[in-house]
């Protein structure tokens, strides 16, 4: 019975399809994490501005993405906006756009939080030794804030990877969907298929998420010196 179940993974192109599905998941997640981190970092710095209007706009942007479920965003973008603007975007492109926008919003908040948590005298001392604004961020604030934002950023990254499973609803075939297709195909002959397929999918997610937390540990250790 057990032998029968695990066999499902190796039938036909199944394994290859699962890996391809993982590729789609990875492509969506990592593109949006990378772009999201870069622009999130910039927006986070902008957010610390004293201007009330800028603060308000940043806060509005974040709340819009935090309050409205990502699934709703995917639907609005895929079925609504593409029709309204009469552009034909693939589900994967829409997914990358939505996840990137989400990533920027959350990342900016993390950056803002860690920048603002730095003691005031750091800025003042920086200014006292004659650093320009750019230098202030480059040599004093960012290096210190980076350590504080790391746990939050890694948490966000893994959350984004896992949330990509929602993309099936706009027709993108990710690793979970391939898993369901395989399970459903062998529903009658191999009733235990779900255990093996989901078990394998779990391992695949672990493989892409674990290096991230490993990396964060390493960076934290390195930066704490």
């Amino acid at each position: 019975m057990q032998n029968l179940g695990i066999k499902v993974l190796f039938q036909g192109m199944n394994l290859q399809r699962l890996i391809q599905g993982l590729g789609v998941t990875g492509r969506i997640a990592f593109t949006s994490i990378i772009i999201g981190s870069i622009f999130g970092m910039l927006l986070g710095i902008v957010w610390t501005s004293k201007s009330k209007i800028i603060k308000f706009l940043c806060r509005l942007y974040l709340e819009v993405f935090r309050i409205i479920p990502i699934l709703v965003w995917l639907f609005i973008m895929y079925f609504g906006v593409t029709t309204a603007l009469n552009v034909d975007l693939s589900g994967e492109t829409v997914a990358i756009i939505v996840f990137t926008l989400w990533g920027i919003a959350e990342m900016a908040d993390i950056v803002r939080g860690s920048l603002e948590s730095l003691p005031r005298h750091q800025i003042e001392s920086g200014k006292a030794i004659g650093l320009s604004n750019l230098g202030l961020y480059r040599y004093i604030l960012i290096p210190q804030a980076a350590r504080r934002m790391l746990p939050g950023a890694i948490n966000l990254a893994t959350r984004m990877i896992k949330t990509t499973s929602l993309v099936v609803l706009i027709g993108v075939v990710d690793v979970i969907k391939v898993g369901q297709q395989i399970i459903e195909l062998s529903r009658i002959e191999v009733p235990t298929a779900s255990f093996w397929v989901y078990g394998f999918v779990f391992i695949l997610y672990f493989i892409i998420c674990y290096p991230l937390s490993k990396l964060s540990k390493k960076l934290e250790a390195k930066w704490s010196d």
């Binding site: 399809r17 819009v64 609005i76 609504g80 969907k177 369901q180 459903e184």
Partner: protein, 286 residues
């Protein structure tokens, strides 16, 4: 207090923003409904986009090589062949149950053939062609004590799953039958094997498939209660394509094509005896 006010303001603005966004989307929908997805457009494109399931064996699923297969898919391929001259000129869009209507409304598919049950609610949003399949409730019982009519069940226990059409139907139409309810789908089959009830009442596709896999049990009543039909659906107002499908179904009926589709895709699961209970030929219910 002030903070709370601020949060409230943000919420309102966020809600407005979304309202505007979706509002735009709806407007555009109404505007573009005018230009329907005519046959010419499909021919110009060279492929027909048909939305099918990718995880509903045996109706629409992917085989181990990632190829679309199943009853709906078999008929969809034939549509492509008759419209565009080649079976391979169909682009299968993999849809989920929850997003079938949205795919049609946003013009991302030409036809939905994802085991789409015709309901009044859905008719308001999409146009259904004539049906090619029918489903209703079915009753499966042990061969040794078969239930062949609903009267046979009187005073006996009927096994049902909670929240299903079977529950609604029995409670409404046959309150005299004792219901034995279970939460899980798998439990009802175990319960019948254990003899905790006289028969299972459930969707006929489910009970027929199960009886086919489990010797010693027989589907005494293959059609009970209201009959539902399954039909291709097109975007609201796409009369041209709708007419083409209906005409195509009539043509296919002349060569008993839906029967052929049954034999190719459903025979293994539902067996010889229920072809006529499930298939609709020529788009007309007899």
């Amino acid at each position: 207090m002030k903070r709370h006010n601020k949060i409230l303001v943000f919420l309102i603005i966020a809600a407005l923003a979304v309202g505007v966004l979706t509002g735009c989307a709806r407007n555009a929908d109404e505007v573009s409904t005018g230009k329907t997805n005519s046959i010419e457009e499909i021919k110009k494109r060279g492929t027909i986009r048909i939305g099918v399931f990718s995880d509903k064996n045996p109706f629409g699923y992917l085989d181990e090589n990632g190829e679309n297969q199943g009853f709906d898919v078999y008929i969809a391929r034939r549509f492509a062949k008759d419209l565009l001259g080649d079976e391979s000129k169909v682009e299968f869009i993999l849809v989920d149950a929850a997003s079938r209507v949205a795919f049609l409304e946003s013009n991302k598919v030409d036809i939905i053939m994802a085991n789409f049950t015709v309901t009044d609610e859905r008719k308001e949003k999409v146009d259904f062609a004539n049906p090619y399949m029918k489903v209703s409730l079915g009753v499966v019982s042990p061969e040794s004590a078969p239930i062949n009519s609903i009267e046979d069940l009187e005073g006996k226990k009927a096994i049902i799953a909670k929240g299903t059409t079977a529950e609604t139907y029995l409670t409404k139409n046959h309150p005299e039958i004792v219901e034995l309810k279970f939460d899980q789908y798998t439990e009802i089959f175990e319960a019948l094997k254990d003899g905790r009830g006289a028969a299972i009442v459930n969707d006929n596709t489910e009970v027929i498939a199960w009886a086919n896999q489990n010797p010693g049990f027989v589907v005494g009543i293959p059609n009970l209660g209201d009959q539902d039909t399954i039909a291709p659906a097109v975007r609201k107002g796409n009369q041209e394509l709708l007419d083409w499908i209906n005409n195509e179904l009539t043509e296919l009926g002349k060569e008993n094509f839906v029967h052929e589709a049954y034999d190719e895709t459903l025979l293994d699961v539902y067996g010889e005896n229920f072809r006529e209970e499930l298939v609709i030929e020529g788009g007309i219910i007899e």
